[in-house]
Point group: C2
Chain length 325, copies 2
């Protein structure tokens, strides 16, 4: 394995006092709806609004002085962009983010507010990987990838380290899967510390490629999926993440678009917290009966909360649907 | 005074292990928007979704055995109804709630889910006080009033007791005013424990009667105000609450409808928490420059979070306005 429990523990030391130790949210109404005892790891309350800060900071903190001087670069329309921008600022490293020019307002504003340079590109015309590669060549900057990197994976695993420290005797751990950075970090911790815990991924059913990859034992690639879960639109697992997932993840639940919106609503109305669609994916899998959890103790990662109020409104009233994207 | 610090401390003992000790939320983006250091007491995360549980439980816990046997009754379309229902269930006291038949879905459902009997009435045709009085006479039930009662006021004051324990050196404390139960409990604590803290109320400007009452040194009555803040539509301060407020509250800020909606949006997008319009009133006063807070340490009570997702959507998109009510 390219990532070990010791790597995650080292990441936890780097993140101590820098990342939030996010709370575990419980609510009787969630338990009643799930028919289980549900423990939500609230990464929507993490710095920059998502678990992504853990991995980005862990990676950037390990750069050498000369690498830091030359700056960092990434491409992302979403939570990874904000995470890299904030971690860069905290570590005094100048960050450049290639971001599609139709990225959500809240995400672009937050990225700029953290002091990063945002370079817009045309999602349909430009090749973002080529743009970033050219920047790396020209400036000597270091690319901070969104998920397929052992330092990123180890950082994300610290969320599970905290959850296991706070909650005893979990039977199941459910984690959203996009590129697989979060679940491979969390499953690494589970395999080492709590091997009896069943680790289940959750992905939009309209994507389905993590489940297929697990079934076919190979990295399946697909088109950009049409899902409300803008954080889970990755077109394939990574090489590192796939290798870890194939060893440590038991199953990947398929989640409907409606179930994600319903889980966002339940968290809003009953727990009074905001999650974005991808952040609700794991809870949606549990509430919609996609995983056998009856009577069990279930950990669920709420992976992010970056949704602006107008988009939330559109999702609640049905005026944004997958078809409309 | 009808309520002393000792009464609030006794209430805290009754509530220990029953009410949530709610967190104090801070966010750099709130501080930047306020030009101050803001500490939000998150009563939106209280049991039943609002501070009201503190007072209701404190009052019902003090009933004698024979009073408990005959049950409790109240009238409320809102958070007090849910609070009485939940406190009644926890204390084994049967609760009857007279509720207008156009009350928000989320509030009626929650009240029934706590096991109370909801009796609908017509807000325009029926006299709710007469309905409740008849019930008291017929059944021997005890009326649990929403704010004008020393046991209720003492219970609400425990929110300030916790905030002062958690945050040192506050300069200002800002609290929403409807009937005045919350602010009179909190101001009682401030006067006894932190006399240097300036206590400021916040009410919808379209109501304005708490400010007028303070200025004219008498209980001013008004019509039901047309405000989005459904928790602050009371038509007058109470007798007990007015007496305390006149002694202990320094000013009452006037808050626009737009400022409350903007504060809800900011909390949603930046702090990832849900507050209802009245719950955002105190923060809105601070953010909209209605109170001199520059460079100060400001406590703000977020009094409740009971807003359903569809109504939130309507508020964010401007399709619910005060005129539309």
């Amino acid at each position: 394995m390219t990532v070990t429990l010791a790597d995650v523990e080292d990441a936890a030391v780097r993140l101590d006092g820098v990342a939030h130790r996010t709370p575990v949210i419980t609510a009787r109404s969630l338990d009643a709806a799930a028919g289980a005892t549900v423990f939500c790891k609230a990464e929507n309350l993490q710095r920059a609004g998502a678990f992504k800060f853990r991995g980005a900071y862990n990676a950037i903190a390990q750069l050498h002085a000369d690498e830091r001087d030359r700056g960092i670069v990434t491409f992302s329309s979403g939570n990874h962009a904000q995470a890299v921008a904030l971690a860069g600022r905290l570590l005094g490293v100048s960050a450049t983010i290639f971001m599609p020019d139709d990225a959500p307002r809240i995400k672009r504003q937050a990225t700029e507010a953290y002091g990063a340079t945002v370079v817009p590109f045309d999602r349909y015309r430009d090749d973002r990987a080529a743009l970033a590669a050219a920047f790396v060549t020209e400036r000597g900057a270091t690319l901070i990838p969104p998920f397929d990197d052992p330092r990123i994976i180890a950082g994300q695993g610290t969320a599970a380290l905290e959850l296991f420290a706070d909650v005893d005797d979990l039977d199941v751990l459910v984690v959203p899967i996009g590129g697989g950075g979060l679940i491979s970090g969390c499953a690494t911790v589970a395999a080492a510390r709590r091997p009896a815990v069943r680790v289940v991924g959750a992905e939009p059913a309209v994507r389905g490629l993590a489940a297929r990859s697990l079934r076919e034992r190979r990295r399946v690639e697909g088109p950009v999926p049409r899902t409300v879960a803008d954080g889970l639109q990755t077109t394939a697992l990574g090489e590192h993440t796939f290798a870890i997932i194939a060893e440590t993840v038991d199953a990947v639940a398929q989640v409907s678009e409606e179930a994600m919106v319903a889980a966002m609503r339940l968290l809003f109305e009953r727990a009074k917290v905001v999650v974005e669609p991808s952040g609700a994916c794991a809870l949606a899998a549990v509430l919609d009966g996609r995983i056998d959890v009856a009577g069990k103790r279930v950990g669920v990662v709420l992976s992010g909360g970056n949704v602006d109020a107008n988009r939330f409104a559109a999702l609640m009233t049905g005026s944004e649907t997958t078809e409309g994207q």
